[in-house]
Amino acid sequence: MQQLIYFFQKYKYFLFFLLLEFIAFALIINNNSFHKSKFVSSTNGITGGLLDTSSEISDYFNLETQNQVLVEENIRLKNLLEQLQVSSDSILETTIIDSTKYNQHFTNINAKITANQYHKANNFLTINRGTKHGITTEMAVINGKGIIGITENVGNGHSRIQSLLNRHSKINARFKNSNYFGTLEWDGKDYNTVQLKDIPRQAVSKIGDTIITGGMSTIFPEGILIGTIINIPEKHTASNTLDVKLFNDMSNLNQVYVVKNLHKKELQNLSNE
């Protein structure tokens, strides 16, 4: 007993040091697993509020680029609307179901990014929306130019988003001009380039092809823009990886939409049966 006390006396700092390191390491492990509530995250009231204030100030410095982004998005949506009007014109005989009214599939919640990361291997973003605005985990986060991530840890007024630039992110994506699909991942190197893996061998691709979301998950709607192919390997390998340059500049994000899938429960029930 005496020796035990002596031991503790002698190594008290070292033991305390080990205890602190153990706590920190447990937090790191906790942070690296997806389906767990996180203790250390920026979604709580204090850090979320402070990050809000700080982003309110820094937002003034890129109002111009954000305006540009919104204008571009408006143009894209207007063009889509024109196309829709043309197609509905040419099939006048068939009844047009107002899908927005009767069979709405997705609804958007606007949000603002208050903290952004893109330089680590596992990046997270913080937005100023939480459970009280109807956010739940595993909802898609997009903006006018493309996909951004998935909500992962939801607090009362803020949520944490697992960025597309995260090694744990795996997103279903396909070519715009064919239905071959693959998995979108990030290798952690360049924040403008992500990797499209597991594309079938027979898929024909060339540099400059557009990649969009595949719509095979319950999270992302189909057809959200992602990026264009910039590099195709010369030889076919088992994983068949293509480099995709994102339309989004992940280092400069502000206004985003959180996409809520109204059919999520139904789709999950179907796949469980």
Binding site: L20, I23, A24, L27, S41, A115, K120, A121, R167, G188
Partner: protein, 168 residues
Amino acid sequence: MNKTIYISLLFIFLLFLQVFILNNILYLGYVNPYLYIAFVFLYPLRENRFPFLILSFLLGLFVDFFSNSGGVHAFSIVLIAYFRIYLIHSIFKKNTQDYQLFNLRLESFGNVFNYITILTILHHFILFTLINFSFQNFTHVILNTLLSSVFTLILFFLGNYIFSPKQQ
């Protein structure tokens, strides 16, 4: 100045400087200074090291809270906080009796430089290894460590020079 007030002001100043200003620098997209470890260099030497270790841990944890990184900053700052005393013993040849009078400004620049550099590189290396959390992209970790260490060191010595009391 009262030591307790000095320490708490230093704590809050370094925390806010890190999370609101330095975390947004990201020169070339990834080179970032981590100046909050100056807390470890500037904390006065004491016989009882428990408050120092706890405060270092808390500082790291708060930086983690703001940057969504689990416990990587807490882990790496506690590591250098623990090893600080052994470096002081070996580099500056100080004993327990000298703790009260120890001041970095009174030591020779070469020794101070070695001391700060070793701790900074150690901290950054552990930090980037934990952020990466795998053996892929290890060259990236080394590169990040070196570039960010240089950045942190320049900032620390500049700040030290600017805030130092005027030479008589």
